[in-house]
Symmetry: C2
Subunit: 377 residues, 2 copies
């Protein structure tokens, strides 16, 4: 039985589901001849660590309790009576993580899994890579920081996976990596990578007003509490940047063209959410409607896309053919079209649910298990 | 630099393209820190082998000559003046392969790549697996033989890849493997896995007669020389069987429901190709047309699908929703819809060109490189 040591950073929605998946796939892991040995779990404030990370693990019962506690919104500190572990708090957490990385990176091997949404993990992750550890990310931010940080993070290409940073568990990164490794040059990638914006664009296409659709999406729970967090395009831009860098482009967030679906004067610093929904949004209806009509007169539809080709790395509204996978997309599915030497006339298309904690966590688990050959029995 | 020894079985269309890809990606391999060291190449009759397979390789110049010779339809024997290698002929070839497998399997490691279309490689492949070798298949037949042979072949799950047996280079197997390893239960897989039959079904949907479309497909070079080889559904059935077994189903070819698009009395033993095209095919037009009309009255379209769920593993014509990825499919692309816990409402969809030597060979190369962590520097 091959044991793979895991440290989990972030046990909110995705992280909690990952622990759940790890627990529920114990026999499947055994069939594959591996066991994921969770040696540490932390959130932004508290870390619990197995007594001796070289040999011990946090027991399955304890991990269930972590899931319960995080589900309830309580602190990991409330677990103090649930078994034998070390607890670190505050500034000690990052030190502890670095220490474990240094200890296990060069001995048994270790996978750092970042399921947080934090900008601040990049430091420990880069140290982990230097220590010879593996890294799996659901967190987009470490990959969208400076090129210098990015280069460090991916310097050991076989030791980093981040499928769930784009399209949740959809096999987007894995598929692009297959094309890249086989020398099939990728000319163009275009896709709808926001379930929210995909839903909005296909609904307005059906004749509903933009303001009406955004309000409906909010009440369906499809948007962030402030829908402008979706409408700004920043989340899609992060995904686009990750894909562009994967394709070898040396590009930064601030050099990307990012179209926001609301103007600056309706920004969060100027208007409250309520004010925006009630008084701001309706002012945008006419413009969107005109753009839809113009596209329609060209036989096209509008999608909020991420587009990467040799000249461009951008996100925004674009006309696409009504009969393309993108044009045919309905609802909140993600879709990516990839054009390469092998897929030149018709693209390689990957489509499906691109959000959800369950799916995202499943993608993370697949990434971890996909690195099993780097570990020894 | 990690060296991965490769023996290539079959250097017709796909094999020749694979050698081409190996040669043209030398610098890409170096960037990944690997070098594919081709130590042997054979067709059905002749094998050329590096002088000492433990350290030597067939030089790049020689491999280019192999590509040329096979492209011209000549024998590998004509290469005798192109460098230093050992040549085996006839019955010696299989013995030589087994010998190399035994020699390298437990020392440097070795990947056997089967790009033939032969039923007869299963023996050496199973011996190779026993010797600890890795196996990459574009050849479907070793995977569609008896369950006993299958079990042996896949007994070392991390040491076998066969992406290019289904949908050419489309990331179908890799994506299913990710779902399986992460414990996402797959309820249903349905797809169009024949470019030829996909083309035929979407054309007849547009109102053309079946016989007209099959004749057109033949003159476009979309079909086998005898179109009945496509219309029988046997090729799709092999792909379905491979997917079903990947999903853990214990099923054999002879227990599968396979719908042929022509009746037995129009089979190759009864009618010549010409007779079939001229006199047989038109007799089938009316039935297909009626089925299309019936489907249409249900709001559906007909596709020739592979369908695997808990109860069924079958290939044949089926009504599918006009708005599903399958229903929207046009032309010769392949498409696969996967339903699982994570993709329950809307399927995970993978779509694109599912044929072509270039694409198939690229899938094989990606498979080989994906196993690099099993090899040591």
């Amino acid at each position: 039985m091959k044991k793979i040591a895991v440290v989990l950073i972030g046990c909110g929605g995705v992280g909690r589901h990952l622990l759940d998946h790890i627990l529920s796939t114990r026999s499947l892991q055994a069939n594959q001849g591996v066991r994921l040995r969770v040696v540490g779990v932390c959130d932004s404030r508290v870390m619990i660590v197995a007594p001796d990370v070289s040999i011990d693990e946090l027991g399955d019962e304890l991990l269930s309790q972590v899931c319960r506690v995080k589900y309830e919104g309580s602190s990991l500190e409330t677990l103090q009576n649930f078994g034998n572990f070390h607890l670190s708090v505050g500034a000690e957490v990052m030190k502890k993580i670095t220490h474990i990385g240094a200890l296990l990176g060069r001995s048994t091997g270790l996978v750092f899994v970042d399921c947080s949404a934090s900008l601040e993990t990049i430091g420990v992750l880069n140290q982990a890579v230097e220590s010879g550890c593996c890294v799996v990310l659901a967190n987009k931010k470490p990959l969208t920081s400076s090129m210098e940080d990015y280069d460090k993070l991916v310097s050991q290409k076989r030791r980093i996976r981040h499928e769930s940073t784009v399209g949740a568990g959809l096999p987007v990164i894995a598929s692009l990596n297959r094309l890249i490794s086989s020398g099939d040059p990728i000319y163009r990638v275009i896709g709808s990578l926001s379930g929210t914006l995909g839903y909005v664009m296909s609904e307005v296409e059906d004749g509903k007003s933009f303001s009406q659709v955004v309000n409906a999406a909010k009440s369906l729970g499809y948007t962030e509490p402030d829908p402008r967090d979706d409408l700004s395009g920043m989340d899609v831009a992060r995904k686009a940047l990750i894909l562009a860098r994967l394709l070898g482009r040396r590009v930064n967030m601030d050099s990307m063209k990012i179209e926001s679906l609301y103007p600056e004067e309706m920004g969060p610093e100027v208007m409250s959410v309520e004010d925006f929904l009630l008084n701001g949004l309706p002012l945008l209806d006419k413009d969107i409607q005109q753009r839809i009509q113009k596209a329609s007169s060209n036989g096209n539809v509008l999608r909020y896309v991420c587009l990467i080709d040799e000249a461009r790395c951008q996100v925004g509204i674009q006309e696409v053919s009504r009969n393309s996978a993108l044009g045919l997309l309905r609802g909140s599915d993600n879709v990516l079209e990839v054009y390469s030497r092998c897929y030149s006339q018709q693209p390689l298309v990957i489509q499906g649910a691109g959000a959800g904690n369950d799916t995202t966590a499943a993608g993370v688990l697949a990434d971890i298990l996909d690195m099993q050959d780097l570990f020894h029995s």
